[in-house]
Amino acid sequence: MQQDSILHFFLILAAISTIVFVFVFFSSWQDDTNNEGVKNALRKRFWFILILLVSLGIFASVTIPKSPYFLFADEVPSKIIHVSAMQYAFLLSEKNIDAKNPVGESIILPSNRLVEFRVTSLDVNHGFAIYNSEMQLITQTQAMPGYVNSLRYKFDKPGKYQVLCLELCGVGHPVMQSTFKVQ
């Protein structure tokens, strides 16, 4: 899972930084009276910044193309699901949802085919987050009143999926959810 590698990556970086700091801290206890340290600590350390810039640059150019706005951009979705979020429910439907009389239906999606969710909200901001059957967050978009966000995804595993709301929308926020199936 993506989250696991993120956590490991983070923990490794955090550990490295801590070790560096601890090492530096103990170095200052050495009785090395000859060493006067760096007189003006703000002196030019160009290479350090350069390394930082280059590694951030590499990181950015690797990750930006993986942004959701660029995924599946030139494929034709085989299924469209309309989603209207409202306090405190998600309505999913293969047909359009009428804002004045909103109703949803139960949804079954094909696996390994491109699905497009057209997500909007009928009242406040909500989040539209898809969790797989192991309750791992796999993708999400926001549901904003007045706008439609088109989220594209290919489900590779059949099973039951859950939708949770990920934007505070009132007291019912934590119970706002929905499900659909992938076959």
Partner: protein, 481 residues
């Protein structure tokens, strides 16, 4: 030199901040206990607690930064005592109104009050939303006046270009701009911009509120403005703390004072721009936001870390590495705070990467990283300043065993509390849930762990609170000699 009045008002601020801090931590623990199903609150009660905790924490650590910068600025220019006092009075009034809104009016839309929830929240009293906005206006005006007056004072001594240390970009500058002045300026400019963004949001809210449905705001615009304010102020308050490090770290360590060089000047000037555009990363999951701005968001978030990490952290490391230093609780707190800041920053950069944000956005990863650089970063910077301020005459800066134990408690408590958040984030646990759906197996278990460690953290804070406020009361009641 600092006048007695300034010392007294600073003491008053410090005591007030610490009292509110203790209360807000208790609210935080209550939230974690509720999420861990140890206690049972109504969702409404949880969300009023959450809103109060958020706005109180942001408020106090922002003013803590302002108070320290104001105090240290007196070394270079005269600052206005009456405006400092004015800010104090309005801040207290503002906080009282805010607490009234949350605890009596049940205002519960989160401290960022994201449009249009406060207008469509059935749980709260009808007056709660307008009054919350009024309270924020009071705070906004008080802090604006304060920031602008500090700017005006330094501008009486330095020209605008000197404030931004532009002369250091050329060789052989005639005038030296102290790093403290440079960083304070950059930060105050950001603070002013973010407060103005808040004022605009509030005006737009009121326009809709009083228009009887004739005027409806654009949700995307409101979200952009909200995070212009919220993100920027939460970041700038950290930089206020950083300015303090530049001013007194070398001094308390018994080392020569740091000086501005061309690349320090350049880095902080760049960060002025990056900090103001990084907020776009709060809208990654709003696909309506143009892709260009999303990418600017990611790049600006990355680049904002260069002056922070590349310059400040590196400087601190160099200042300590193999240098015999007089360690005291003050520079030790600074040093550990910088570690917290770096680690929180790593978490932030990871989350500010769009392709990661898809699975981290609005999960516990978010409170995880911002609590890291707040509870284990900025708070420690401010506590260090408080210690230094409260003991400056008595000079008891040696590290006692008691100090070591307290620090240990703080570290263990803080780290445990934060790890529970990070693991929750990696387990896809949503943030801002009063209780967790049963499917999220680890969520409530982690919440219990988080709550337990947070209690250790609270214990350490109480000891600090006792030590610092005892001396601050001494200053408060001292008479001129």
């Amino acid at each position: 030199m600092e006048s007695l009045n300034l010392k007294k008002i600073t003491s008053l601020w410090i005591i007030t901040i610490l009292v509110l801090f203790v209360v807000a931590i208790v609210l935080g623990i209550v939230m974690r206990l509720n999420q861990g199903e140890v206690i049972k609150l109504e969702p409404l009660a949880f969300y009023t607690n959450m809103t109060t905790h958020g706005i109180t924490m942001i408020g106090i650590w922002f003013v803590a930064g302002m108070v320290s910068v104001n105090y240290l600025m007196e070394r270079y220019v005269k600052t206005s005592y009456s405006i400092n006092l004015f800010a104090f009075v309005l801040t207290v009034i503002g906080v009282v109104i805010l607490w009234t809104c949350t605890y009596i009016g049940n205002f519960s839309s989160g401290w960022t009050f994201l449009y249009p929830l406060p207008l469509k929240d059935s749980g709260s009293a009808p007056w709660a939303t307008p009054m919350y906005l009024v309270a924020l206006t009071i705070l906004g005006i008080a802090w604006l006046v304060w920031s602008v007056s500090l700017m005006a004072q330094v501008l009486k001594k330095y020209s605008f270009s000197q404030l931004l240390a532009w002369q250091h970009l050329k060789s052989n500058p005639k005038v030296e701009t102290p790093p403290f002045i440079l960083i304070s300026t950059v930060t105050l400019i950001g603070v002013i911009a973010s407060l103005i963004a808040a004022v605009i949001v509030i005006v737009l809210y009121f326009a809709e509120y009083f228009s009887n449905g004739n005027f409806v705001n654009d949700a995307l615009l409101m979200k952009n403005l909200t995070y212009f304010f919220g993100h920027t102020i939460a970041n700038e308050m950290l930089y206020l703390g950083v300015a303090v490090i530049y001013e007194i770290f070398a001094e308390v360590s018994g080392r020569p004072k740091w000086k501005t060089t061309w690349y320090v000047a350049l880095a902080w000037n760049c960060s002025l721009v990056f900090i103001l555009t990084a907020f776009f990363h709060h809208l990654y999951m709003d696909f309506v936001q143009p892709e260009g701005l999303q990418i600017i968001g990611q790049l600006a978030s990355y680049l904002a870390s260069i002056p922070a990490v590349g310059v400040t952290v590196f400087t601190i490391i160099l200042a300590v590495y193999r240098v015999r230093i007089k360690w005291s609780i003050v520079n030790l707190l600074f040093f550990i705070g910088v570690i917290g800041w770096v680690i929180g920053g790593l978490g932030a950069v990871i989350d500010a990467t769009i392709s990661n944000n898809v699975v981290l956005h609005n999960t516990l990863w978010v409170p995880a990283h911002f609590h890291t650089y707040n509870a284990m970063g900025n708070v420690l910077f401010s506590l260090a300043f408080f210690y230094w301020f409260s003991t400056q005459h008595i000079k008891i800066l040696v590290i006692s065993n008691q100090t070591l134990y307290t620090m240990g408690l703080l570290l263990i408590g803080g780290i445990g509390f934060l790890i529970a958040f990070y693991m929750g984030g990696a387990d896809s646990v949503p943030r801002r849930y009063s209780t967790y759906p049963s499917g999220l197996a680890s969520a409530s278990y982690l919440a219990k762990i988080g709550a337990s460690f947070a209690m250790l953290y609270l214990g350490a804070v109480l000891i600090f609170f006792y030590n610092i406020s005892k001396r601050c009361f001494g200053i408060l009641y001292s008479s001129p000699y």
